[in-house]
């Protein structure tokens, strides 16, 4: 990584769920780890998320969802990112996601899934190690 | 805590409240019951206020933690300094299986071991004895010889952890095996820490696992006191146990009264032997039950400390503050667990454990949810241990000392418990002391009465037990249960046969003879037990010698 390079991360909450504590705590932790976090707020559609990721030229997209709509929304986000030529972007997810959904999510390219109780340090380390 | 004027004001406001608020309210909506009682059937008032503790003196009745009368705890910093020892009672099948469980528990954050022995061991029989038929490994681990003890503690650092052993009739012999096993590994006995239950009086009262008549049994107990005070300064030579008295149906007050009475009897016996109180009293420890009734239990522990401090200091003239300390282990109440909807037991255990902690326990065993069905599975044991850890680390109750002190209800209950304990002391005294009372069946009768009253209350649904007489569900329990190694008993018999075949039988005969000789005389038996177990004399062989020397005990029939 060159000297001036900063890791840019988009933190988004797809779907209608309004519990943003986790998303905000992660955003702050990434900020405190020296990253630039674009926080887009609640109720983001997959289209909004993909377009924001494009305009902001982020290295990473972090998705937070607690309502259980992930199996509907995540595939759409992944497809849109690919359509826009951003398949190389690192995507991770957090929230209430049952273990049995994890293989399918990884299959579609979501690199890491963090359940409740994950230390934010784990996420920071993961991003540092995996962002080229 | 309040001056006269305030007390008077509270009194008059209380009367006004009763007249203006309560009366009308009761007419509109009566209370759920006419009388509210604790689990021990002690009446509970509607409201406790400063009026209920007005004759009470803070400095006299509570004082400060780590100071007489220790109502607020025996250590100056309590759990801010060190948490209680999380000690899960474990033992089943062979020494190998139990050894694996010990390692599992230590690996999950347990901080002390607690050994359960099987029925033959508790009665002083070897696994291959005819009396042991069908009992092997059922409620604990079988230990017939030093070889079993060595296997049991294989790979466990006995110089770093403390070990508690629930053994009474043959306690001295099992203790001798532990000492011998440690010494064989190069750990000197003076470095060993732990507890043997060694409480024979409660066996006569409640648990009934006695071997010999009371007098020689008491002599064995005092032998361990004497030996321990000389050679194993870190060992608790007795754990005076209310737990089993409670499980046999006692009320909280009875549990406390009978246990403390037993404790005082041991002290007296040791003094009669000529031991100095401050030589052995600091190594006495207690073992209580944590039952359902939350505040009653907390009050019980606090009253216990106050009474014991007073008795050792005032009655026996102990000078060392440590002799005044009542240190205790707690186990949540096995008898409160239900086979129906076993997961409900996690909740019961959590609340009971909380009571123990708020009462200032020094160590704690939390029951596993499946104990009413089978021996606990690893998962069930882990949840039980996690229960303690959550209380210790997440609930915040460990951050200040004796957090409930001052509660009008709790202080009133503590005082009341104390008063009722003294009433029992008086009765026991009148009967001529504990052993006389045992022989006359006093305790047994008291327990039988309490147990049947409790049962009656449940059947009449004056008491609700969730899943038993209310909120019953159809479905059978579906939790995974522990399966023991079916080959276990054969393995144990093989090992015993090998021990008998490979040992120096001459040395066995010689050491057993020494035990017999000592038993018939006045000598302390402990050194002879250690010699015998080192020669691989078995538990059964040693006990047989004692049975011949001491005779057997038959309980008086009590109805």
């Amino acid at each position: 990584m060159p000297d001036g390079k900063k890791i840019r991360v988009l933190i988004a909450k797809p779907g209608l769920d309004g519990h943003d504590r986790g998303a905000k705590v992660v955003a702050r932790a990434l900020r405190d780890a020296g990253m630039e976090v674009i926080y887009t707020g609640l109720r983001q559609t997959p289209e909004m998320i993909a377009e924001a990721a494009l305009q902001e030229d982020v290295d990473v997209v972090g998705l937070s969802i607690l309502s259980g709509a992930h199996m509907t929304l995540f595939p759409r986000i992944m497809k849109l990112l690919k359509d826009k030529g951003m398949e190389g972007i690192l995507v991770f997810a957090g929230g209430i996601i049952p273990d049995e959904d994890v293989p399918a999510l990884k299959e579609m390219g979501i690199r890491a899934i963090y359940g409740p109780g994950t230390p934010t340090g784990d996420i920071v380390d993961f991003l540092r190690q995996n962002v080229q | 805590m309040f001056d006269r004027e305030t007390i008077e004001e509270i009194r008059s406001r209380r009367s006004a409240w009763e007249a203006d608020t309560i009366k009308g309210n009761l007419k509109k909506s009566p209370e759920r019951r006419d009388v509210f009682i604790t689990t021990s059937s002690v009446p509970v008032e509607r409201l406790y206020t400063p009026l209920d503790v007005q004759d009470w003196d803070y400095l006299r009745d509570l004082g400060f933690p780590g100071e007489y009368p220790f109502t607020r705890g025996v250590q100056a910093t309590m759990y801010r300094g060190k948490l209680w020892t999380m000690r899960m009672f474990a033992g089943f099948g062979t020494a190998e299986e139990t050894n694996a469980r010990f390692k599992y528990l230590l690996g999950h954050g347990e901080t002390g071991l607690s050994v359960a022995f099987d029925m033959p061991t508790l009665y002083g029989y070897d696994t291959d004895d005819a009396e042991a038929e069908g009992e092997f490994g059922k409620c604990g681990v079988a230990v017939s010889s030093l070889a079993d003890m060595e296997t049991l503690f294989d790979g466990i650092p006995v110089d770093k952890i403390t070990t508690s052993m629930t053994i009474n009739g043959p306690a001295a012999i099992i203790w001798a095996m532990y000492i011998a096993a440690a010494e064989k590994r190069g750990v000197p006995r003076a470095k060993l820490g732990g507890t043997i239950q060694n409480d024979i009086l409660k066996e006569y009262i409640a648990q009934k696992e006695y071997l010999f008549p009371p007098e020689p049994s008491m002599r064995l107990v005092v032998d361990t006191f004497e030996f321990g005070s000389r050679e194993l300064p870190l060992w608790n030579t007795i754990s005076i146990s209310g737990y089993h008295i409670r499980e046999a149906g006692a009320t909280a007050v009875q549990e406390l009264a009978f246990t403390l009475a037993d404790g005082l009897a041991y002290v007296q016996a040791a003094l009669d032997r000529g031991l100095g109180i401050d030589d052995f009293a600091p190594r006495l420890s207690f073992f209580f039950n944590a039952h359902n009734d939350f505040f009653e239990e907390i009050a019980k522990y606090r009253a216990a400390r106050r009474i014991w401090a007073r008795e050792t200091k005032e009655r026996f003239g102990a000078r060392n503050p440590r002799s005044w300390w009542l240190r205790f282990h707690t186990q949540t109440a096995g008898c409160s667990l239900t086979a129906q909807q076993p997961e409900n037991n996690v909740v019961r255990t959590a609340i009971q454990a909380l009571a123990a902690v708020l009462g200032g326990t020094q160590s704690l065993h939390t029951n596993s949810m499946d104990e009413a069905l089978a021996l606990p599975s690893e998962t069930a044991v882990r949840i039980a241990l996690r229960t303690q850890q959550i209380i210790a680390h997440e609930s915040g109750v460990t951050n200040t000392i004796d957090p409930l002190a001052g509660s009008y209800f709790l202080e009133a209950l503590t005082n009341q418990t104390e008063r009722e304990v003294y009433d029992y002391f008086e009765k026991i005294e009148k009967l001529g002391g504990v052993i006389k009372a045992i022989e006359r069946g006093f305790f047994q009768r008291e327990l039988a009465e309490s147990a049947s009253r409790y049962q009656r209350e449940i059947e009449a649904r004056e008491r609700t037990i969730v899943g038993i007489n209310d909120y019953v569900t159809e479905e059978p329990p579906s939790i995974p249960l522990l399966r023991m190694d079916p080959e276990g008993e054969r393995k144990q018999r093989d090992r015993l046969a090998r021990v008998r075949a490979e040992r120096d039988n001459e040395a066995v005969a010689r050491t057993l003879e020494a035990v017999r000789h000592a038993a018939q005389g006045q000598e302390n038996l402990m050194p002879h037990f250690i010699d015998a177990v080192k020669a691989y004399a078995t538990l059964g062989e040693i006990c047989d010698v004692l049975r011949e020397a001491f005779g057997l005990y038959r309980e008086p029939a009590i109805w």
Binding site: G4, Y39, Q55 | -
Partner: protein, 360 residues
């Protein structure tokens, strides 16, 4: 207007200080700064730069996003690409929006962008938030207020962190604006950090500067005293439905009267309720009016000259410092600092000595 522009220049002239006062940032970028300036022409990545520039000109949004990142990261490809794009810039109207936190800048920019879209203009938005001085990281949250614009292909929003710059923008903001300009955006809104301290940099970047105030954010007069008023081409009192709005308007009016210039542009005061879209049309109208004024009065070309000079000096300062840092012997520097601190040497002599050494 001339006077006002002159003032800007002076202010900017004084602003050389802070750049030097941030040795950490410079140190961090020294090698790259050097590369940027000296190797721009012979960069092996010229082909890449050309491709990027072509993508921007062809309207590829991903190319735009990428190039702005390279500028922010001081990557070697950035300068040649910017050089290629430069002839295509200069068409967009750049509107700066500044004001204290909580005045509603993002919402206002979002509404202005929407209004511009309704008038058929394409819109670029650059929203700047502060980097943490401790970690160097940042949380950029301005998009929240502009959510519905995200789906509009005629709008391009870019969030930026200040990355050590103190003037309310980041060092890369000016170049990011150029990229959006070359990309073909008709109007570019630039939202500053809004820490309320030192927001004048925007005036050296934008054609029209809007200063936003809101009632109830503490002492109104204090904010005005901070000098921010003097850079305003348009004053906005947002949240005008709240208690105290009239008092804020009156205070601003008073300040304007005290500062009255006999001729030229008179900054209007516009009341808005951005969350409800109220007053946006009027504000938009004032922006157009100011743009026309710049054209008609001939101020526009003057302003362009000033902005060009400003930018040139900024680059020179930045590059020079970087090169000086590059050449300095650290041990020697430490010794000098030590001497100055111990009063064995005065700082002027020391600086002159160093510069002379390097210019040789």
């Amino acid at each position: 207007m001339e006077v006002a522009t002159e003032e800007r220049l002076n202010k900017e002239g004084r602003r050389a200080g802070p750049v030097l006062a941030k040795p950490r940032y410079i140190t961090q970028n020294q090698s790259i700064g050097a590369k940027n300036s000296s190797q721009a022409i012979i960069s092996p990545s010229l082909a890449e730069s050309r491709e990027l520039a072509d993508r921007v000109l062809a309207g590829d949004r991903r190319g735009v996003a990428r190039l702005i990142s390279l500028i922010e990261d001081d990557s070697p490809e950035a300068c040649p690409a910017l050089a290629l794009l430069y002839p295509h810039t200069g068409r967009a109207h750049v509107v700066g929006v500044t004001g204290a936190p909580g005045t509603g800048k993002s919402t206002l920019v979002g509404q202005l962008a929407r209004e511009s879209r309704q008038r058929g203009l394409t819109v670029g938005i650059v929203a700047v938030d502060p980097s943490s001085p401790f970690s160097g990281g940042a949380i950029l949250g301005d998009r929240i207020r502009m959510q519905e614009l995200t789906g509009d292909p005629g709008v391009f929003i870019r969030s930026m962190a200040t990355r050590g710059s103190l003037g309310g923008l980041s060092y890369a903001t000016g170049d990011a604006i150029k990229v959006l300009d070359a990309f073909g955006k008709d109007i570019i809104y630039v939202e500053t950090v809004g820490v309320g301290q030192d927001e004048v940099e925007i005036a050296a970047t934008a054609h029209t500067t809007i200063v936003v105030q809101a009632p109830g954010l503490g002492d109104d007069i204090q904010a005005i005293k901070a000098g921010i008023l003097e850079i305003a081409d348009i004053l906005v009192v947002n949240k005008a439905d709240q208690e105290g709005a009239e008092r804020t308007v009156a205070a601003l009016q008073l300040m304007l009267e005290l500062n009255h210039q006999p001729q030229g542009w008179q900054p209007p005061i516009i009341k808005t309720v951005a969350v409800e879209g109220k007053g946006i049309e009027a504000l938009s109208h004032e922006i157009s009016r100011h743009r026309d004024y710049l054209q008609v009065s001939g101020r526009a070309s003057l302003l362009r000259q000033h902005l060009a000079e400003e930018e040139l000096w900024n680059i020179i300062r930045k590059t020079l410092v970087a090169r000086i840092m590059d050449k300095l012997d650290r041990a020697e520097l430490d010794q000098l600092i030590h001497d100055i601190a111990d009063r064995r040497l005065d700082p002027h002599t020391a600086a002159n000595k160093l510069i002379a050494q390097i210019l040789e």
